[in-house]
């Protein structure tokens, strides 16, 4: 394991920017997963076992 890294100087704007970008990404990923699982379910119903 590495030595403890030196913390970056705290920046409120950077904090908000990262929080917003991650929240957006999480939203898109969850929506994508919901669609994917929906289509997988449909595909499994039409594909014969």
């Amino acid at each position: 394991m590495t030595d403890e890294p030196t913390p970056e100087p705290f920046d409120e704007a950077e904090y908000r920017r990262r929080q917003r970008s991650r929240a957006n990404l999480m939203g898109w990923l969850l929506a994508g997963l919901a669609f994917l699982f929906f289509f997988i379910t449909v595909a499994r119903m039409v594909v014969p076992k």
Binding site: M1, P7, F10, S21, R22, I40, A43
Partner: protein, 303 residues
């Protein structure tokens, strides 16, 4: 939410680009390609949504393996020029975030494979992740110069998983494709290890050139290139692939062995630019891409 970079009571959330870099995207591209080839070369059609989901599961599994590898090796990465700027050694991400991300991604990838394909493919995916993280990263890599030889099995799983996702069974052709990547890995990585030797020595990783010396490594590269060539041609000889694959395998493998000969027989002096080694390393990547492309082309358009 995963956190990073504490400053007093406040913390900066990890940047998604650093989490993405943790998955070793460049390695993932080869994994996805070989898995897709294994899936497309399998007999019988697969529903496009299930095929896409299976490949996505393999990609996420590879990403999880990469993340857990970087989490465990953060200290070693910090000592090597080539890896010092990765998110963990550079201090842009904290280890706990990397660990949670890797374990979560691994569990999700296996679940997705189970849901989209079958339990056999999900089990193989789980075994490949555990093999890469526990057997290769934690056990073999820091202990033996044979780390790449046995650890190469982890990278050889994708075409087998792709095939099993499509069919639910293991057959001789994907086993030979597994063997091909397994035998391709040592000359590929040892060629790299020869020209970044000082990096591995600085990190104390017992790569073959560091422990056994350059001469022994060069001989082994040549040895593995020859048996890899035999394994590459075997599917055609055994009647598991057609002439399109057979001729591609013969020509490419001959070129691979020819490029390995100068690497295997020469001695590099002080200040050597290692051109033959760099050429072999670059060609080995193209070799695998073209050969696996030929497996699919041969299946779809047999001569």
């Amino acid at each position: 939410m995963a956190q990073s970079l504490t400053h007093g009571a406040m913390t900066l959330p990890a940047d998604w680009r650093d989490l993405f870099a943790l998955t070793k995207p460049r390695v993932m591209s080869l994994v996805v390609f070989t898995a897709l080839c294994g899936l497309l070369a399998a007999p019988g059609p697969m529903h496009p949504v299930l095929a896409f989901s299976s490949i996505l599961a393999i990609a996420l599994g590879a990403g999880a393996s990469g993340a857990l590898n970087q989490w465990y090796e953060a200290g070693l990465d910090a000592k090597m020029k080539r890896t010092a700027n990765r998110p963990l050694p550079a201090g842009r991400l904290d280890p706990q975030t990397a660990l949670h991300f890797g374990v979560g991604l691994a569990a999700f990838s296996v679940f997705l494979m189970l849901f989209a394909a079958n339990w056999q493919a999900a089990a193989l995916l789980a075994v490949s992740i555990l093999f890469y993280v526990l057997v290769y990263t934690m056990w073999l890599k820091p202990r033996t110069p044979q780390n790449i030889v046995i650890g190469g099995a982890a990278g050889a799983f994708p075409p087998l998983i792709g095939w099993v996702a499509a069919t639910g069974t293991i057959a001789p052709l994907p086993v030979l494709l597994f063997l091909l990547i397994f035998l391709w890995t040592p000359p590929h990585f040892w060629a790299l290890a020869l020209f970044v030797r000082s990096d591995y020595a600085a990190a104390g990783i017992p790569m073959m050139p560091v422990v056994a010396g350059e001469r022994a490594t060069r001989r082994q590269i040549l040895f593995y290139a020859i048996i890899m060539a035999a394994a590459a041609i075997a599917p055609w000889v055994l009647g598991l692939a057609g002439a399109l694959y057979g001729w591609t395998a013969i020509l490419l493998s001959a070129a691979f062995v020819l490029l390995s000969v100068p690497v295997g027989l020469r001695t590099a002096g002080e200040g050597d630019r290692m051109q033959p080694e760099k050429r072999l390393f670059a060609f080995s990547i193209a070799y695998l891409f073209i050969l696996f492309g030929a497996v699919v082309a041969d299946h779809l358009w047999p001569l």
